[in-house]
Symmetry: D2
Subunit: 249 residues, 4 copies
């Protein structure tokens, strides 16, 4: 798969942008537009990027779209509960079958992330526009390539521990905030054949998705989460004695 | 909590026992009865054991029962889909809040385990009554205390890889079968405040729950999974600046 | 082993205390004395605590002492290189054989910790007497029992990422500092049959080992690291075909 | 680094080949020659492969060689103790600085692997020429790409649990043997900036390194272990307050 472009779909609930003028000013093409622009700008021909939103039929995530998506990025906040369970099922199956998933900021509570992780994914928060420092704790990890240590975000919503997730398979970034809190904000998980990256920076009230280091992390995450395999997840399979010996004849 | 008995509830779908005479002969008190008997026999006053089955109201798992359960053991096979989603929700929340869960054999496909792990939990299988050897790969783990290396089970259903689970937080046992397959049959997970142990030996067609080494593993698992904490899982919480400084005044 | 007291040996290089009056004033019985006092005070009859220092023959860690030690606590800083390699070998073997090890603060560079972990264990540091906040990221972990979230230490040396350790088997605490840095300051490792806990708070220039919450963490760590098994580490063993069948006759 | 060839050095103690005619017949160019041939054959221009042996000055692993090596493969057995400690130090530092290491079969006891992992790395063994089945437990892992499930090796030395290693960061393969034993034979570790893969199949008494599936695993391992970063491991660094703010001016 190395030589064909990575097919990225950036999904956004796209609600704040409809309702709040300041968000629209900050993200005139929507948060999805800014994320898509960042990735396309950094990865160029190595990606094909499209967007999808809650308001579209099947939220823009019909089976055909998922079949043609290597990495799905997900931003949601106020409308998690409006996401149809059938779509959640479909996305979960796609991830188990190998599609990458990059869950952004308030998507910690997205149905599909909670479904894949099994926990509440709750956390502490405070929206005071504090400085966030994003520290790399895994310097050789490809998602941390090319970003400073720390990344400095001048103003952000605070997300703090305890963050109720399973222990991540790899912990890449830990943030601190001006108020003193820490947060495991860059976490890798593998579920089925799919890779999942959760990345906490990014809020509708701050221009975080225009920050060049954050864009670099997102581009790295796309490359990391691109499937090694794509298949429909196997069913439970009866295996008669000696089944594998026949493979080698 | 060290000094009060661990309150164990052994849950069984209890279907094979109703329908198949040979299973009833093997497990006259049901699989739940055999499991409960094994634990009570080994742990004595250190546990209080009760049972619950699918056929009871709320499957015997009302909120009051869960509130009084430290460790829930779960056996299911043909009736996974008959388990009410409201009960599954309740059990998931109890685990996240600290209740231990020991999932047995074909409970790899139990709704609640798949819900907590997020993957399909599919595997390969063959029911030919083969010898299973259960090897300890974590000799210092308390669940492996006091059992031989390997445990020998003369006849069992084969469960083989690939087993579609998240990488376990701790891998304790790996089985091999006469036909050559291997299986990660003793896996620890932590989700929220709860501990989960999946243990594959045990099938309605073989007297595995009468095997003294298997009983020892189950007793060890109960002790390991007993809660360190019991609380309702926290919601997402707003935390005004300096909130924690007040804690220390 | 649950009923006999945990035998704890608190080891200290004991150099700052000899050379610096302010350290002597802060720790009149040495850092080892303060640590030992804290543990004995909290755990009472459940522990037997002794101390040992660099200046004693074999640094106070002869084979007989290690054979009678369940958990070894280790504080060192300026004299790491004066620790005899034969003693390091012996401690490493004891840990692999099941003895617990609690490595404190600047012991991140102790020969024996680097030997057991295999990496440089380097980090960033700054000694400006800053506030350290110790956040729990694993609330159900027994080492975090009974301490506030966060623990507040008014003045401490800063230890910051990147901390060059293997990914810990369990991450319990992450600290933040007034200057903005974060640090994985509470890390569990298992090596052979032994459990290792590294805990960063504690410096000769601050009274951290008199802090009640820090003492609680140390007492919890002793209980956690107490051996499940004690044995001499197995050699590589020839295993003739069918060797295990004989176990069950 | 993606576009320049991966520079591989295959190291072998090269002792059996000198002393035993049957080994020489099986591996006329040495085990190192067969391994190098397999990798070069599969990866072509994507690699530059050279070999080095114990008998060369500095065992063929001078600093200049390591500086020009992206992935070091290591085979040793009877001569582990003849490897100079200065070379072991140098290889360990190179791995921590980002060089990949692929440790083969009896190299489980190589000084450098034990140094990097910190444990005894002991295991059970039996040399009866038994069938080994190599099962993939992480099907989406790149090291498992393109090999059958299971790989069948008609005759091999048995390596069995307990294998005294730290819990691997990723477990890729688990083997079973005709005699019933299991073995975690494909294990990934990360130490410092370097990736380590241990792979158990391969013995001087069997033509395992001519097996096409084993060669595929080795080629995959080279690609996986190729450095994401190359640097000399950082020392402990003093960091004055606000040091990072200057990064962003």
């Amino acid at each position: 798969m190395a030589d064909s472009p990575i097919r990225v779909t950036v999904w956004n609930e796209n609600v704040h942008e409809q309702q709040e003028e300041d968000v629209r000013a900050r993200y005139p093409d929507g948060i999805h537009g800014a994320v898509a622009d960042g990735i396309a700008g950094l990865l160029g021909d190595a990606v094909q990027v499209r967007t999808a939103t809650l308001q579209e039929p099947e939220h823009g995530l019909g089976q055909a779209v998922l079949d043609e998506t290597d990495v799905l990025m997900w931003w949601g906040h106020v409308a998690h509960e409006e996401v149809d369970d059938a779509v959640v099922d479909r996305v979960q199956q796609a991830v188990l079958g190998g599609m990458g998933l990059v869950a952004l900021h308030s998507a910690h509570l997205a149905k599909v992330l909670r479904r894949l992780l099994g926990t509440s994914c709750n956390l502490r928060w405070r929206n005071d526009g504090e400085r966030e420092l994003v520290w790399t704790v895994a310097p050789a990890h490809p998602i941390a390539a090319g970003v400073p240590h720390p990344i400095v975000i001048d103003a952000q919503e605070m997300y703090g521990e305890h963050f109720d997730i399973p222990a991540p398979d790899e912990l890449v970034f830990v943030s601190s905030f001006a108020g003193g809190e820490v947060f495991r904000g860059g976490c890798c998980f593998e579920r089925g054949a799919g890779r999942i990256f959760y990345f906490s920076p990014g809020d509708q009230d701050y221009p975080v998705y225009h920050h060049p280091d954050i864009r670099r992390v997102l581009a790295n995450a796309v490359e990391w989460a691109a499937p090694r395999l794509r298949h429909t997840a196997a069913g439970s399979e009866n295996a008669p004695a000696g089944w594998f010996e026949a493979l080698h004849r």
